[in-house]
Subunit: 437 residues, 3 copies
Amino acid sequence: MEDLMTKIIKKISTPLISLIFLLNMSSTGMADTTVSAEVSFIFNTLLFLICGFLVFFMAAGFAMLESGMVTSKSVSVICAKNIGLLSISGIMFWMVGYNLAYGIPEGGYIGKFIPWSDSSAVDTGYSDGSDWYFQMVFCATTVSIVSGAMAERIKLWPFFLFAAILSGIIYPIVMGWQWGGGWLASIGFFDFAGSTLVHSTGGAAALAGAIIIGPRLGRFTKSGSPAPIKPFAASSIPLVTLGVFVLWLGWFGFNGGSQLAMGTADDAIAVSTIFINTFLAGAGGVIGAAIITRLHFGKTDVIQMLNGCIGGLVAVTAEPLAPSPLAAILIGTVGGLIVVYGTKLLLSLKIDDVVGAIPAHLFAGIWGTLIVPATNSDAVFSTQLIGVLSVNIFVFIVAYIVFSIMKVTVGLRLSKEGETRGTDVTETGVIAYAIRD
Amino acid sequence: MEDLMTKIIKKISTPLISLIFLLNMSSTGMADTTVSAEVSFIFNTLLFLICGFLVFFMAAGFAMLESGMVTSKSVSVICAKNIGLLSISGIMFWMVGYNLAYGIPEGGYIGKFIPWSDSSAVDTGYSDGSDWYFQMVFCATTVSIVSGAMAERIKLWPFFLFAAILSGIIYPIVMGWQWGGGWLASIGFFDFAGSTLVHSTGGAAALAGAIIIGPRLGRFTKSGSPAPIKPFAASSIPLVTLGVFVLWLGWFGFNGGSQLAMGTADDAIAVSTIFINTFLAGAGGVIGAAIITRLHFGKTDVIQMLNGCIGGLVAVTAEPLAPSPLAAILIGTVGGLIVVYGTKLLLSLKIDDVVGAIPAHLFAGIWGTLIVPATNSDAVFSTQLIGVLSVNIFVFIVAYIVFSIMKVTVGLRLSKEGETRGTDVTETGVIAYAIRD
Amino acid sequence: MEDLMTKIIKKISTPLISLIFLLNMSSTGMADTTVSAEVSFIFNTLLFLICGFLVFFMAAGFAMLESGMVTSKSVSVICAKNIGLLSISGIMFWMVGYNLAYGIPEGGYIGKFIPWSDSSAVDTGYSDGSDWYFQMVFCATTVSIVSGAMAERIKLWPFFLFAAILSGIIYPIVMGWQWGGGWLASIGFFDFAGSTLVHSTGGAAALAGAIIIGPRLGRFTKSGSPAPIKPFAASSIPLVTLGVFVLWLGWFGFNGGSQLAMGTADDAIAVSTIFINTFLAGAGGVIGAAIITRLHFGKTDVIQMLNGCIGGLVAVTAEPLAPSPLAAILIGTVGGLIVVYGTKLLLSLKIDDVVGAIPAHLFAGIWGTLIVPATNSDAVFSTQLIGVLSVNIFVFIVAYIVFSIMKVTVGLRLSKEGETRGTDVTETGVIAYAIRD
């Protein structure tokens, strides 16, 4: 079956893939390294720490992106959610997540429920703690993706509860399947830095949540078309912009650090290539969204340009090393277009994703993962498809069940009155913008 | 006397301390380093530069935190204060501060009033300039802490004058006591990255200033209770949030760089551990403040979550290497709770600390310094107490005297009319938010 | 003629120059390096990547600076311009720019129109890709400078077209003259990190654009004096402040990375010195602008302090290694003063530079380049003058021609009605700040 599917898809996508193949970077093979084990250990650890703090800072990027995208009566709670989810994710990932992912048996399905502890040694090639830090901020990124989609109507503490479950259990399980050496790794799935494992996981959970909680009051008219945008206008475009720039910055750490080593010249070259492709894919996403919104909808939609950037970045995350520069641009451009049309699709389905997280992370993540074979000849399309389907379906179903249980137990959604007054007044009692002339 | 005090405190804090002791990280001893002197020199220098620019960026964090926390008529001046104090601090620290701290005789009290100059050599293990840069941004951090507490009523240039005195004289003196090898270092005081030396110093100066300048007009009713918060509402919660994320990011440099070396595998492991504990303590502070405000006051106070993060970070700064992950979380959580109740305490004392700098930096700094013996068995509680008392009392008294002299000479406070119109119109003539639909 | 000019200028500037000469840092010569080629390769590559992501982040700094400086009806489009120009610049620099600059014959005038490709090898001393990344973000910085000056009236897509021409052709040509080993390098021009090549290039293009497009409607009264500032008030001072802090942060990468190497102790010392001088020059610019606006105009102008910082940073960029700390402070202070009086000058000429890009980047860049001989005895004043004149005149003329052609073909300026409604409504249909109480 795998082979058949591969054939079908290869046929369909041949023209694009051929083009990209031609443009692949030639490998720059070098002699064996001359770097001593300890120096290499320090370089590798440094890579994790530097890339780790860049990814850490993505939490600020999500906070700004989402603060700017929600209406001005729901900004304080978005801030509370973002700093809260980062804190919860980190603690959960220490308590259970890390070993749930990395304690997995080879080719297996789930690891061990024990807290992480340090066992650094020079022979492991890097400090254990630096790896934990780097993996932890990935976990937090996954959870960040969910917070925006359900904004303006989800209650704060149920969201925190879900954040704990996603960061402590759901994400670590799928992470272990691949990066812990579980069954997906065994069948040869490729996902370099997590188009599927991180971004689609976050996006699939967000989709389940957005469906269960339903749209904001008044978001869609009775006839089903989106209500006039005015009462749902983004509170601050510069904050959205800042958020995207911070995310783009963080993505150099996200993808670059996923090389997992900087202790040889070859690794240093690889990290450089990853930085370039990460940049170019984001750029492609911006330009794709700019052109298509101008041509198709008349105005150049700055929000779609910004979300298109995310879409491009997510798309290249599954394979940021193999593509040539042109391939990276193309992969990112398609990611940007997917965001634009994915946003339209969700609106037509009356799914209210406040910040556009689902198109940018789920849809673009699927695209990025499936296109890997076009630039990395070791990847097989059918295996990519199995990975995409298994992760997304697993996450969606589990998240759907968790949200459903929460809905009938602790409750997910604010009261109508609370939502109308705004989450900020209702939940935190702090107005977000108290600006007077 | 020391022994007696130690006994008493140990008795009181035994349960918590025992718990934390049990959870301490086991040391990961390694063989002697194999890294050459020059490679080690480069790694150490790189650590100072990277961590230095992270701490530099904390200046932006303070600027955003404070801009968001003041009312909208005092934002432009806060911005002027923050960029101004950074500039002044850096120049003062070059002109006198560095050698006032590092030119101190062993076990002494004060160094030399001479400008810093470079005398790098490979045998010193790192470039002199990188160390100056790293220490300078610490100095600027100390001054940043003061600017928010006295906001909305202090005049700009008197503040700049105090910034010069604090950065050029007061901070370097106490810094020299410990990090310059002065008398506190001689008696065995522990303050890894400056819970006391930096954060309490800033906080104690802020307390002196807030007392002398008095609360904002109308901040407290005649009966002494805080006035309705509405006219004193924070101008922008997303900017406060951004500020805290930036500070958290910078704190990895603040604590991580205080390892002072990255040139061996052991140092690299230590820096990794510090990153983890710094993260977890901040997370603990967030969660502590979130839970306690929700349970105790009904709403989850986002501002306290954000300041709680700072409190957790300040608390772990005195010893970010020795604690186990669980200990770091607990130390940070208590730091967060201290912020919440410290804020209440100040209000009940009618001290108007606009941004909550005193609870977060002074109170949490005291806690963090005193709890060091619980995770680092080389530290002695009574010595920690001596350090806390001597630094805080010295700084408070000197700052009190300086502010008092300034009050009767150059004047500290805006006119009533000027304060009512707002510092922005009065001092800089630039409205902070000119937003029209 | 060169010698005569040198004599005249030396005479005029002798007192200042002598002072600065006396304070130059003494060279810290060291023995030959003991670092292996591969370790050195990794360090050098790491320097490019770290400094590169810092410079990348300057794009966010420009976006925030400009968002805050324009009026609130033109903020969304500024955001679109900044993320768009970064994307366009990166792609253009890959497609043509890099080899147009580096493919230049020795002492020549123009390189080759071919895309960049990777040819990394250990003997080259660093990964090719890391160099491309570092140079690319410089190119984007050049373009960023232009976007603010013409804000609030230029059409979006014509701006993007100019961004492509500037990043793909104009900047690479002048870059090649010096950094590609072209004719300016051959005659001994000094421009360490681009006071002229980057900042004046951006500023000269901005000047040409601002002249051709003319001032905003109503910006100047019929009599020629600036209109009351109120309707032209900056939308958000904290965002401007954030922008400047981010730029200052990025400048450590901009200047530090321009050492181009970190693989020996000497290089590590040099990078440290550059960090210090970069910091001190920015500080000097802030303080210079603060004092002069307070003394000369009555109020301490926060906007001039912020732009003064940029002026100081631009000024030290031509030579951030040779100056002593005091010299760096003085060079930066003059840069700050140039910004203050340069802003006045432009207003008196009725040139409407919305964000003050021309004084900060063009004027301060000229100052910084001409003063190099005062701290670096290898530089010759007349050669510096030739470099300044040739680059600025070339860029101004080419940009003037390009803008003129665009004006009569695709059109540069919004309709009067469109400008009155604001670029945001007209071009992107997205209101920047939708804030309601």
